[in-house]
């Protein structure tokens, strides 16, 4: 059995009813009964946000090797403050013809709905409540592997912190520029679709593959943003010294010396 999508992101206000779609596939060769229920995935929330979900169909038969589309609707409650909430649509299959003997094995699949919710009664927040210009995302703990050797990748490590009160999907890039400001290499932050929860800090790294074969000063620039917000930027000047390059220079020198002897 499988479900699609694995996760969904919604941005809604208390005056909206937002539809969500789920596709359930039965990959087995047996017909089965599908049951869908909701679960509050936000353990810190005292609000029963799982009650926001209503289904078109949450108990149905699904034939072997077939799929079924399930429509649901998110009806948020205005009594909940603005913020990030997560609800699981938990899909389970049951075969009533099977009788357990000692241990019955059940499998469930949870499709996660991540909701950035803006309450109309909450005047302290809302879209305007996010400072788009600063501090939504913070870059820190910058580090590189200075002793890299060509053609090993140059690894840039850093932390990203979500300073907002909403879910964010960070994305961005790390670029290596020379003294003229020209981009020598660039690699994207390969983290898209992994959310940062509010106030969460996570470690990330980017490998700049086969960076170059030159010793000297370069700028490393990290540009990262949360979805549609303006990016946070960190720029560092580094002196890079690929030791394979040094080795080759020594070999060339040795060659000249040998020639001089003859």
């Amino acid at each position: 059995m499988s479900v699609s999508p694995a996760k969904q992101h919604l941005t809604i206000s208390s005056t909206q009813n937002e539809p969500v779609k789920l596709i359930v596939r039965n990959h087995s060769t047996k017909n089965t009964t599908i049951n869908i229920e909701t679960r509050n995935l936000d353990s810190s929330s005292t609000s029963r946000v799982e009650e926001w979900v209503t289904y078109s169909n949450n108990n149905f038969n699904l034939n072997a090797n077939s799929s079924q589309e399930v429509m649901a609707e998110i009806n948020p409650s205005n009594s909940v403050p603005s913020g990030a909430y997560s609800i699981g649509l938990v899909v389970s299959a049951s075969d009533p013809s099977v009788e357990s003997q000692n241990a019955t094995v059940d499998t469930q699949i949870t499709s996660t709905i991540l909701i950035n919710y803006f309450s109309n009664s909450d005047t302290s927040a809302g879209i305007e409540g996010i400072d788009l210009n600063t501090e939504a995302l913070e870059i820190s703990s910058y580090k590189i592997n200075n002793n890299y050797f060509w053609p090993q990748a140059l690894r840039v490590e850093f932390n990203l912190k979500n300073n907002s009160k909403f879910f964010g999907v960070p994305h961005g890039l790390v670029r290596l520029t020379n003294s003229k400001g020209e981009v020598v290499k660039q690699a994207k932050i390969n983290i898209s679709a992994k959310e940062l929860m509010p106030e969460q800090t996570a470690e990330y790294y980017v490998d700049i593959s086969k960076p170059f074969f030159t010793t000297g000063n370069f700028n490393i620039e990290i540009i990262a943003s949360l979805q549609e917000e303006k990016p946070a930027v960190m720029q560092k000047n580094v002196f890079l010294f690929p030791w394979v390059g040094v080795l080759i220079l020594l070999l060339i020198y040795g060659g000249f010396k040998l020639k001089a002897k003859h």
Binding site: V3, A6, K7, A103, T104, T110, V183, A193, I223
Partner: protein, 338 residues
């Protein structure tokens, strides 16, 4: 009115008017277009055409090339090379363009009835700013680069324009072939619906195992949890081991599991797949645990997970004073996208 006079009898040497002279204007291709499968050319006299040309794979600018004009690129490659659900890989052929030539990428879901632009951070935006023009190195060179933030299960096409120097932007390339993002998915199944432990005695450890098969194309990987209660028979039960893993011991009540290849007792296998982490307390060979009515993190991955397998091994020991009966329980495994 400007009137040109020219001599085309043999070799054209000069085209002139009262105010201007074109020295030795070229004349090629006749006055009609010429097409093959891959290229098109238009007959030109001097610099006159107001239309660009396009074949399946190549485009040609309308006028003669400026001194620093970039080559119009062949149609770019757009592909979904790793079951991606929100990104596609674009690869361009830079031709003979210098390394500081910049490229703009237009992307469309409806065959360019409407379109957007790839931004500096490789997401999609409605406008194209100067910083969104990227050089070959920023587009991953021959390996290509991933355009991100796309819709699931949606087909896209791209075109690429180039410029080198001022006032020399090329027309867009021919349109790429269509590439389609996947749907994101989570998949979990068990090869058994029930797991028989046979007869329980205080003299031997009863075991059973089953295989969980799982996969997901979610980039953050997945998590599988285990929950349920211990074995019960009416009002009687076998004690669960708890959250601290211990070795199997006959003669005392124990109900637990792990996800390893064990030798004492001989049951289970190592997980099959990459980037799989078995979480504590289920990660040590020959040590077992089980916490009742708590969702226990059992296994995680941290990236796209191709179809993988983990073997769950259950062990049960009975004591001499364990009440006779038919003991049953239900173990539930739940999968989440990380």
């Amino acid at each position: 009115m400007t009137v040109f006079s020219s001599s085309l009898a043999s070799a054209v040497e000069q085209t002139s008017s009262d105010n201007y002279i074109i020295e030795q204007p070229s004349f090629s291709g006749g006055s009609n277009t010429s097409d093959s499968d891959n290229f098109s050319t238009r007959g030109t006299v001097g610099d006159t055409s107001d239309l660009g040309l396009e074949s399946d794979n190549y485009s040609l600018d309308a006028t003669e090339a400026a001194s620093r004009q970039a080559d119009v690129l062949p149609k770019p490659t757009l592909e979904n090379d790793n079951d991606y659900f929100d990104r596609l890989r674009i690869t361009i052929d830079e031709q003979d363009n210098p390394s500081d030539t910049k490229y703009a990428i237009a992307i469309s879901k409806d065959n360019f009835s409407t379109f957007s632009y790839v931004q500096q951070d490789l997401t999609i935006g409605s406008s194209l700013s100067s910083e969104d023009w990227l050089i070959f190195a920023e587009l991953g060179e021959a390996d290509g680069e991933l355009i991100i933030g796309l819709d699931e299960n949606t087909s896209y096409k791209v075109r690429v324009a180039a410029f080198h120097g001022d006032f020399s932007t090329t027309r867009y390339s021919a349109t790429s072939d269509e590439a389609t993002t996947s749907s994101s998915y989570l998949r979990l199944s068990s090869d058994k619906e029930s797991c028989s432990l046979g007869t329980l005695t205080e003299l031997a450890t009863a075991t059973c195992n089953y295989n969980l098969s799982f996969s997901s194309n979610y980039y953050g990987g997945l998590k599988i949890t285990t929950s349920g209660s211990t074995l019960t028979s009416g009002g009687n039960k076998i004690e669960a081991i708890g959250s601290t893993a211990v070795a199997s011991q006959t003669g005392i009540e124990q109900f637990g599991f792990n996800a390893k290849a064990n030798s004492n007792p001989a049951v289970g296998q190592e997980p099959v797949g990459s980037n799989i982490t078995i979480n504590n307390p289920f990660t040590t060979k020959d040590l077992f645990a089980f916490s009742e009515n708590i969702e226990q993190d059992t296994l995680t991955t941290d990236s796209i997970t191709a179809t993988s397998t983990s073997t769950i091994s259950i062990i049960v020991n009975a004591a001499s004073d364990t009440e006779p009966g038919s003991y049953q329980t239900t173990i539930t495994h739940t999968i989440y996208a990380n």
